[in-house]
Amino acid sequence: MDSTARRKPRFGTYDKRMLRVRDEHLRRVLQGRDFLRFDGAMGTQLQARGMAAGETPELLCLIDPQGVTAIHRAYVEAGAEAITTNTFGASAPKLGGEDMVPQVFEAAVRCARDAGARYVAADIGPTGSLLQPMGTLSFDDAYELFAQQVVAADAAGADLFIIETMADLAEAKAALLAAKENSDLPIFCTMTFDEDGRTFLGTTPEVAAVTLSSLGANVLGVNCSLGPKDVAPIVERMLPWSRVPVMAQANAGLPRVEDGVTLYDVHPDEYCEAVGGMVRAGVSVVGGCCGTTPEYIRGERDLLQGMEPAPRSVRDDFVVCSSQQLCVLRPGDVGVIGERINPTGKKRMKEALRSGDYDYVMSLAIEQERTGAQILDVNAGLPEIDESATLQRLMADLQGVTSLPLQVDSAVPETIEAAVRSYPGKPLINSTNGKRETLDAVVPIAAHYGCALVGLTIDEQGIPQTPEGRLAIARRIVEATDAAGIPRQDVVIDCLAMAASTDQRAPRAILEGIRLVKQELPGVRTVLGVSNISFGLPFRPLVNATFLSAAFSAGLDMGIINPKQQRMMDVVNSWRVLSGEDESAQRYVAGYATRSDAAGAPATTGASQQVASETGGGQDDASLSPAERARAMVLAGRKGPMPQLMRDILADHDVMFAINDVLIPALDEVGVRFEKGTFFLPQLMASAEAAKAGFDVLKEVNDASGAQVASKGQVAICTVKGDIHDIGKNIVKMLLENYGYDVLDLGRDVDPKVFVDAVVEHHVRLAGLSALMTATVPAMQETIELLHERAPWCKVMVGGAVLNPEYAQMVGADYYAKDAAESAKIAAEILG
């Protein structure tokens, strides 16, 4: 889509938005000083006028403009100031073409104008498709659909945008950015919540308020969802986190059908009473959603007469969030940023990024969350890989396995921008610094995308030795963020830890630097990557822990550490008692009451208990040799005992024996049983999983000894574009890995070009494509054609529910794999 590139502002040219505001009243509304009244339901009114279920209501702006105008006029007469255009679903796919979008918006705005609207609010609803990674619509394509609507609405003469009924924070963000980057009209943005207080995709009111207000919504709030009594507590959760006015448009309760007539159970009086409560709590923009009529709006007009918007107080805590949860640090709280997803100086991580082994990265994320990280740093900076693409893939996958907010860690501004642009939530950027060029490049990105920002106290002259020198750079950074409109609590200064072994004055300079920054730049937070301090010293964890506690004492807010190191978490947890953050020491007592030595080895009771219970079955006969027992465990599909059994085997044998005489024969037997039907699929998979637990141990031992077990070759696999069914692909992956192949797993819903690029880059000789739906077979064919063109050396096998040998041949595949076992045979034939 070329137009996306055209509409997106050029990199680094984000001027502060100068709003085009229709009049003084609207300006006061945006400042929270005046109330604004929206209208009520459109859909309910259209249905009452005989619109058929499933019809495209937006087309009525063209077919029956008088009817639409009449509905608007009734709301104007009832006292609505902002009239919402009948364009909720007016996106190109729903209207049947891009050229319809301007036509519908033009007609819709005219209907609202003709009705006498004081303000015409251009309505933008969800696309109806789910965005990646859970769905198949890309962020950029969603943005493009919204941008078409924004441009059309602005050209048609709308006064503001109302982006509404959003359930997906990523989609709301795409719409908001489309409005912000293609128009200078005010943006109102509301999301819809379920009874459990979350959107369908799990976003909380707090997360919505933090993200949307950081991104630059001019008014945010709740619409649709529920009746006003149930909307009230949701709005109240938003109010403390929104830096802009908050709006509420509830439904008239729940609909019920009586004698073919739809009735809503909340009447206007009751509705307005609940709205009154919300207004007193701080809501200043009101209206209605499903089931409301002009009568409800009239009630709201009467309600607001003689009232003033209630004073509000907004929290100034440090806050970042994923689409699911906030990380909040009140002044004085300390936070843990997990440092492990970073290849710098980490061999295993480098290897994982190079070979596309994202499973390892996911396991690091899960472990860090379990051990106490509140934010995860993500860095994919390796010169030999595409950093930007890798970072985006990692961030997408990480959102599937953890709900922790992410810290985007890169030295390249373009990479940072690409990563934060589509991130659903408010990330932390790591980092900018005192160099003019870096400030000019990164600060505008943080401001435009509403991110928190780490600033390093380093500049063109390097890292100053004195605390005052560090403060001077911090001051320069904060001047830039202040000028860009980034709130102080979103700025996090890193005074940069230096090795004590090379300069023993450094630790005191860093600590004093932290103290000065906190004192001289009120509101600003501090962060520190701690472990550099101990470089060159023995028993580094002890030095790190001592320094971390000193830094907390100096006012440090966040440590970038490895939370798996118990000693570091001990400092964090005990400091929280001493600082009062851990009230009544409840968390400390719960975690440490049974600990005898706080600095001992990490607790492993949980894991060993699990092993014990899994070995508890009758089939693990201790009289057998470890090799025989390992074989039995693979056949039983029990992974628990496998690591220990492998170590036992290695006491008497080498790694090759464990592979060739234990694991592979066991897997062969599993394959035979599956083929004969004496094993069913979960058994096959559980056996593969047990074998994998064994292989993992062998790999560890091998890595440690420096020996190499030759890979049998690489296989690239994916589920094709448009399809998100990945079970079949995952089964194939597991089996191929067991048989000693390196599997390059490109994931699901994979663009043909992305797949073929990877095949070419790694010179892969066998590709496996999976498709489950008839509708995605063409995407499979497209991928194969591109493979033949650009990677003619690569053989292709295909599989999936809709395929058969004839179909496979038709799409141009070399092999048809009826199941995973078959794919292993094909791999053996081609790769040996």
Binding site: D196, S363, G722, I724, D726, I727, A775
Partner: protein, 237 residues
């Protein structure tokens, strides 16, 4: 105006879950049993089964220029085209339309397991498929109840993509049931519903008992959700 119903389902048929996994009486390790039970419990825990249901009278039966028979319904732009529908709805005077979903909680968990635990993914997928079919049973029972109230008989539920009822009808069905806004069901350009554990279907409401109309309550998939039987009557008269 569609009816939105929360479906409370606290159990699924374990043998059905095994059937989706391709089980045919094989002997297997007890540890797998435990994991299957955990997967079923997890599916129930993370799912929020919900339905949207509406009823439309049959308006006309026509034949398109290309020879395709089509059933038009009053008050909706849903058109039931093809020979499958012609046959299935031969005696129908009204049609119940349903959409059910387990919600994004289940979908997210499936996605998480796809990234972390492939055995767990297979087990949860089978448990979830069983659960969403169960949810469809529960939704269907509400259509049966409405039919009985109107003195009509239902046939079995029929989903787009089966027979020659085209999948291309999905956008209209979801729109008519307001299923994106009310249930959170989205549709990809390839007509894939997400959450993937979602079902849409149509049920004929007919003037006389159908070949597929249940003759007895024994073995009826709607049994656990039946609102007719407690009143002392049955849907089959």
């Amino acid at each position: 105006m569609p009816q939105i119903v929360d479906l409370s389902i606290d159990s699924v048929d374990r043998s059905e879950v095994l059937r989706y996994m391709g089980y045919a009486g094989q002997e297997y390790d007890p540890s797998l049993d435990q994991r299957i039970d955990q997967a079923i419990a997890r599916a129930i825990e993370v799912s929020r089964p919900r339905a949207s249901i509406d009823f439309f009278d049959v308006e006309t039966r026509e034949v398109r220029d290309d020879g395709t028979p089509v059933l038009r319904l009053r008050g909706t732009s849903i058109e039931l085209a093809g020979h499958s529908m012609e046959e299935h709805m031969a005696d129908a005077v009204a049609v119940g339309v349903l959409a059910v979903t387990l919600g994004m909680g289940d979908e997210r968990e499936l996605h998480r397991l796809g990234l972390t635990d492939h055995v767990g993914q297979i087990l949860l997928d089978s448990a979830s498929t069983t659960l969403v079919e169960r949810a469809a049973d529960a939704a269907e029972s509400l259509i049966v109840a409405e039919a009985t109230r109107r003195g009509l008989y239902t046939n079995f539920r029929f989903s787009p993509g089966y027979g020659d009822l085209p999948l291309s009808i999905q956008p209209t069905i979801l729109s008519a049931l307001d299923a994106t806004r009310r249930l959170g069901i989205t549709l990809s350009p390839t007509l894939l519903m997400t959450p993937t554990k979602s079902v849409t279907a149509v049920v004929g409401m007919c003037t006389r008992p159908q070949a597929s109309t249940r003759r007895s309550c024994k073995g009826c998939p709607c049994f656990d959700f039946c609102t007719i039987r407690p009143t002392g009557r049955t849907c089959h008269g």
